[in-house]
């Protein structure tokens, strides 16, 4: 008897083995099935819902996939041999109920149990996103989620520029951009996706050029139009996971809010004025930390200000770096929402004062009578507000 066979006989005496059909039943009841084969083997197929941790990294990575050592763990390889060694390794780590799947994936297939071909990162993505993958909160699974995600940016201006740039860098696979404007030289003080050479070009195509230069595989979906009640459903109804509001006027902000409520899309909100900014996440269908649901924009401000009292116009000016700070807060929230990690800014308004270098967190409460997001209310329809920008004299009074 060879040393290998002697060792295998020992393992078979101590590690319980389980038939694939019984393993699948246990998996359905909460046991964790770990496919320990090599990536090129797994690329051809793996049991549905299995964790995939290559044997060589099993002990190093298993605790992220199976934090509780009391969980039943089922190890699977190609033929049921490597899984014995894997199971023994997990036992030594302290997992109490570890079993090896008899006959491995070969028998799993002949028994016609469900398999899937897992999505896989290619070599470029593996290298590009390696600093994400090193973190267990992201990992390969999280990176795949980012790659499959679709985020719609409203505006490719001060806020939209840093948002779109960092989302492309992070590997958000599909980035939609709504903007009807062209690049102006006065934009370049803060709108960092555009370039001097592209003054006069559409902002959507300029942004696409920068994003795909950073990451050629970024899928940039452009909407060179102004958002109105006529096109908002068509644009928002394309399966977006998150909408990031970087618009610069009240009519658009209210359309974005109302469409996000209607389509149940989280609305990552940021706004800026001179040296001050605000950021929050409007997501009424997600409960806030205290168990109460989150508010929408209308819970906070039911109606836009009338033109004579509106404080916000291009003439007011803005510190060029400020949209970077607020836009990146929006980008962070977006990535967290896609990954399903951390505590989103739901029910909290973060205000930022650049001159004081001060962040303040304010609590936002949902309005139980909100016409748009209160549960059980029929959608009241969109409103096309008139651009609420003060006349020059009033602007001077309000902002000078």
């Amino acid at each position: 008897m060879s040393a290998k066979d002697r060792r295998l006989a020992e393992l078979r005496g101590s590690i319980p083995e389980i038939d694939p059909i019984d393993a699948a039943a246990l998996q359905a009841r909460g046991a964790v099935l770990i496919d320990v084969r090599e990536p090129d083997e797994i690329a051809a197929g793996s049991p549905v819902g299995a964790e995939r941790i290559v044997r060589g990294f099993l002990e190093l990575k298993v605790e992220n996939a199976v934090p509780d050592p009391k969980t039943t763990v089922l190890c699977l390889c190609a033929g049921g041999v490597r899984s014995l060694f894997a199971a023994e390794g997990l036992r030594t780590l302290g997992y109490e109920d570890v079993r090896s799947v008899r006959g491995g994936f070969n028998r799993w297939k002949t028994d016609q149990l469900p398999i899937e071909v897992p999505a896989r990162l290619d070599d470029d993505a593996r290298e590009r996103f390696s600093r994400h993958m090193l973190m267990p909160e992201v990992g390969e699974k999280g990176q795949l989620r980012l790659l499959e995600s679709k985020v719609l940016c409203i505006g490719a201006g001060g806020l939209g520029s840093p948002v779109a740039l960092y989302l492309a860098a992070a590997g958000v696979g599909t980035i939609g951009i709504v903007d009807d404007d062209v690049v102006d030289r006065s934009n370049l003080q803060r709108q960092i996706v555009h370039t001097d050479a592209r003054v006069g070009e559409s902002k959507v195509s300029s942004a696409r050029e920068t994003l795909t230069a950073l990451w050629p595989k970024a899928n940039v979906v452009g909407f060179e139009t102004r958002l109105t009640s006529d096109n908002v459903d068509e644009i928002f109804g394309q399966g977006w996971d998150v909408v990031v509001d970087g618009s610069d006027n009240f009519p658009t902000r209210y359309l974005v809010n109302d469409a996000c409520v209607k389509h149940a899309i989280p609305n990552v909100h940021g706004s800026i004025f001179r040296f001050e900014g605000q950021a929050t996440v409007f997501w009424p269908t997600r409960p806030a930390a205290d168990g109460q649901r989150g508010p929408c924009y209308r819970c906070l401000y039911a109606e836009p200000p009338p033109p004579e009292l509106a404080p916000s116009c291009a003439e007011a000016g803005v510190l060029g770096v400020l949209p970077g700070v607020i836009g990146l807060l929006e980008a962070v929230e977006t990535v967290k929402i896609v990954l399903g990690i951390g505590k989103p800014l739901v029910g909290r308004l973060l205000t930022y004062d650049a001159l004081e270098q001060r962040f303040t967190e304010l609590q936002l409460e949902p309005d139980p009578g909100c016409a748009y997001c209160a549960p059980g209310k029929p959608f009241p329809g969109y409103v096309d507000y008139v651009q609420a920008c003060a006349a020059p004299a009033a602007v001077a009074a309000a902002t000078s």
């Binding site: 404080p311 916000s312 309000a398």
Partner: protein
């Protein structure tokens, strides 16, 4: 009477001579706003309606809480409290 600090948002600082904070003595949030209005002409109509309620595009906070969730403008204030005026701000794209 308590001494409170009122934080003035950028769009309204033209009414306070550029000051970002104003310290007032008052017992309630309404009293604090009244004191602010006495000192800085034209400011209160931006914040309150003619009937003295907060305008729908302005929120008044005491500390981290919207006064709507407390006793509204009748909410009492204590020494050192911070009252923040948080108007809707649209800017971002242009």
């Amino acid at each position: 009477m308590s001494t409170a600090t009122i934080r003035i948002p950028t769009p309204l600082r033209s009414f306070t001579g550029g000051a970002d904070e104003v310290t007032v003595g008052a017992d309630t949030v309404r009293g604090a706003l009244d004191a602010l209005g006495e000192r800085h002409d034209g400011l209160i109509p931006r914040i309150l309606t003619e009937t003295g309620e907060a305008r729908p595009f302005v929120n008044i906070y005491l500390g981290s809480k919207n006064v709507k969730t407390l006793d509204g403008l009748a909410t009492t204030i204590a020494d050192g409290d911070v009252v923040s005026i948080i108007p809707a701000v649209a800017g971002g794209r242009s």
